[in-house]
């Protein structure tokens, strides 16, 4: 019979004749703990299978040719299943974006932190409220986009100005490969 006695004042488990905690109690707690750990380990694959799969994660960068876009025009491209706006801003729009005082903004960020070249605004076209695509045709009061779903309004830097959306339109990672070619992702 194994008895686990007090060692240096630390109670590991008591033998039957020692006190009320028995070897049986120890086995009970130990096996219960193992079963719980085993169940948790078995549940994890069931949960994790729902995360984006390897082929989805493998969707990476795209290249876009900008040559045909004239000032004031905007195109929508698909990157990682998401729409992305590429807008060639007019000098007016750039001026408006740059001159907006930061304290008027809900999610303060300078225009210069959102663009690499002032002429090109590249943002993920997903409203930070509940995921609709903001519309360029309905510019809203700030000259940028108005989201048709719940009325969020963005300015010419894609920053949130009015409505329920909490954040500015996200800027994806991108780099210019040449003057007329950009790689997103």
């Amino acid at each position: 019979m194994i008895t686990i006695r007090r060692k240096k004042g630390l109670i590991l488990a008591h033998s039957t004749d020692d006190a009320s905690v028995t070897r049986r109690d120890f086995i009970y707690v130990a096996s219960g703990t193992m079963a719980a750990l085993g169940a948790a380990a078995a549940v994890w694959p069931l949960i994790d299978q729902m995360n984006p799969s390897a082929d989805t994660l493998a969707l990476k960068e795209i290249e876009v040719d900008l040559a045909s876009i004239v000032p004031g025009q905007q195109i929508t491209v698909e990157w990682r299943k998401k729409p992305v706006f590429i807008r060639r801003r007019t000098p007016d729009e750039i001026k408006q974006a740059e001159e907006t005082p930061l304290d008027e903004l809900k999610d303060p960020q300078a225009d210069s932190a959102r663009v690499q070249k002032p002429e090109w605004l590249i943002v993920v076209a997903i409203c930070t409220h509940l995921g609709c695509i903001p519309s360029k045709d309905m510019k809203g009061e700030y000259g940028g986009w108005l989201c048709p779903c719940h009325g969020s309004q963005y300015d010419t830097s894609g920053r949130i100005r009015k409505g329920p959306a909490p954040n500015n339109l996200a800027v994806p990672a991108y780099k210019f490969l040449s003057d007329t070619k950009v790689q997103i992702g």
Partner: protein, 465 residues
């Protein structure tokens, strides 16, 4: 509240079966002979109607699943294939899509019935909470199902609703990507939604069993809201209520059939005839009608997190109703103030539903020009040293655009406040200040008039016209 009645097996085989699997005993004692208050009205038939509708959804759903393909490039076409090529496919699909609406009609009547007659009060709190859980599961199931045809409204409805979870601080984005299995609503989302849409109705069926179990411990509430005092207050469920429920069901199915055969797309959205397109959001996203009041609550708040919290809060508050309502009287018949508030609350809910269907900036009343804004614009132009002609032009354009209005979002805000105020502090305080009317002594005395109980002169129920 089982009466004295006990099942007696009639023959040798039944005795043999009863001592091995007392299933006929269960059926007889807890359905057929179940003692049920004498005075249930037609508002109490909706439980049976709901059970029927669940069965309709499961049966039509299982056969639809034999033809439907949960795959992003094929889902839309497979639904069209069901509509055009599958024998009676149009009927099965219209029965299923309109069945969902009728299911929600029934559940709303059922819930408001419970509210009116105080069916949530002790000892029926657990029964009530199980009902709220069923309702939540129904909402989830309906939402998942609406995604399956993979039209524009399916796709964008799924996008907006799954994005609710992105409002969770810190882990929100990880949770939504986990739900989608991608960076946006995608094929992976469609496939899991189909799997869950198949599963949840059976979970509902399981919770319905618990709901009925919890019903059979205290027994039915009734329009008077007073307790059953003895056998003179009850009749056996069969044939009295099987027939009453059956009649109500027949009338209900008449409406269901009218919808399926004469107006199958009345409650649908034309945008769902357009295949899903992840690069175009429809101009006006509206959920199915049964979610509209909550959608209006969501949109009434200019903060994302708070909007989502209020939306879920608006549903969860129902679960706390047994403790928010402090009156000891159950039925609204004896609560003069509550009875009026009940109808006000009903109008508030319908009003929210109307708001949910409009665009938020839709103007309800135009209160005239906004002088402050117009004056500010003119001042600004004057200070900038503009010519009088230019200033006049500024004034003109400001007069056209700057108006004081009462728009849908303003109405939604008022109604959202009213919605929550009904529960708290409304019902909470009302219990303390309201003087209830005198309660009848018993159900049988009340149904038989003042001439006395069943023992003294009232006509037996069987003979009443």
């Amino acid at each position: 509240m089982h009466g004295e009645y006990r099942y007696e097996p009639k023959n040798g085989f039944m005795k043999w079966l009863d001592s091995r699997l007392p299933i006929m005993r269960l059926l007889d004692e807890s359905v057929l002979q179940f003692p049920t208050p004498k005075n249930l009205n037609y508002w109490f038939t909706f439980g049976g109607i709901l059970t029927f509708m669940l069965a309709v959804q499961i049966v039509t759903g299982i056969v639809l699943a034999m033809h439907y393909v949960p795959q992003e490039t094929m889902a839309f076409d497979s639904v069209e294939h069901i509509m055009r090529d599958v024998n009676y496919g149009w009927l099965l699909r219209y029965a299923h899509s309109n069945g969902a609406s009728m299911f929600f009609v029934a559940v709303y009547v059922h819930i408001f019935r419970g509210l009116y007659y105080g069916s949530y009060k002790a000892p029926r709190e657990v029964l009530w909470i199980l009902g709220v859980i069923i309702y939540l599961l129904m909402m989830a199931t309906g939402f998942l199902g609406y995604t399956l045809p993979w039209g524009q409204m399916s796709f964008w409805g799924a996008t907006v609703i799954t994005n609710f979870f992105s409002a969770i601080p810190v882990v929100g984005d990880a949770v939504t990507q986990w739900l989608w299995g991608s960076f946006a609503v995608d094929n992976s989302t469609l496939q899991r939604f189909f799997s869950l849409h198949y599963l949840l109705p059976f979970v509902i069926a399981g919770v319905v069993v618990l709901h009925i179990w919890a019903l059979h411990v205290p027994g039915n509430n009734n329009p008077l809201g007073i307790d059953v005092k003895g056998p003179q207050d009850t009749v056996p469920f069969h044939p009295y209520y099987t027939v009453k429920d059956g009649f109500a069901l027949a009338v209900f199915v008449l409406f269901f059939a009218a919808l399926v055969f004469f107006a199958p797309n009345l409650l649908g959205n034309p945008d769902n005839f357009v295949p899903a397109n992840r690069l175009v959001t429809p101009m006006h996203i509206v959920p199915e009608w049964y979610y509209l009041p909550f959608y209006a609550i969501l949109r009434s708040v200019p903060s994302k997190l708070l909007g989502v919290i209020l939306l879920f809060g608006g549903i969860l508050v129902w679960a706390f109703l047994p403790w928010l309502d402090t009156s000891y009287v159950r039925s609204a018949r004896f609560r003069p103030i509550f009875r009026q508030l009940f109808w006000v609350f009903g109008v508030v809910c319908i009003g929210l539903g109307w708001c949910g269907a409009q665009t938020p900036d839709h103007v309800i009343v135009d209160l005239g020009p906004n002088m402050t804004a117009i004056n500010a614009a003119v001042d600004h132009a004057t200070k900038a040293g503009k010519t009088p002609e230019e200033i006049a032009a500024v004034q003109k354009s400001a007069e056209a655009s700057e108006r004081v209005t009462f728009a849908v979002v303003d109405l939604s805000r008022i109604l959202t406040i009213a919605y929550f105020a009904f529960f708290f502090p409304g019902l909470f305080l009302l219990g303390w200040v309201e003087t209830p009317l005198p309660l009848p002594e018993s159900i049988s005395k009340a149904v038989l008039g003042t001439r006395g109980g069943a023992a003294s002169g009232g006509r037996p129920l069987e003979q009443r016209g």
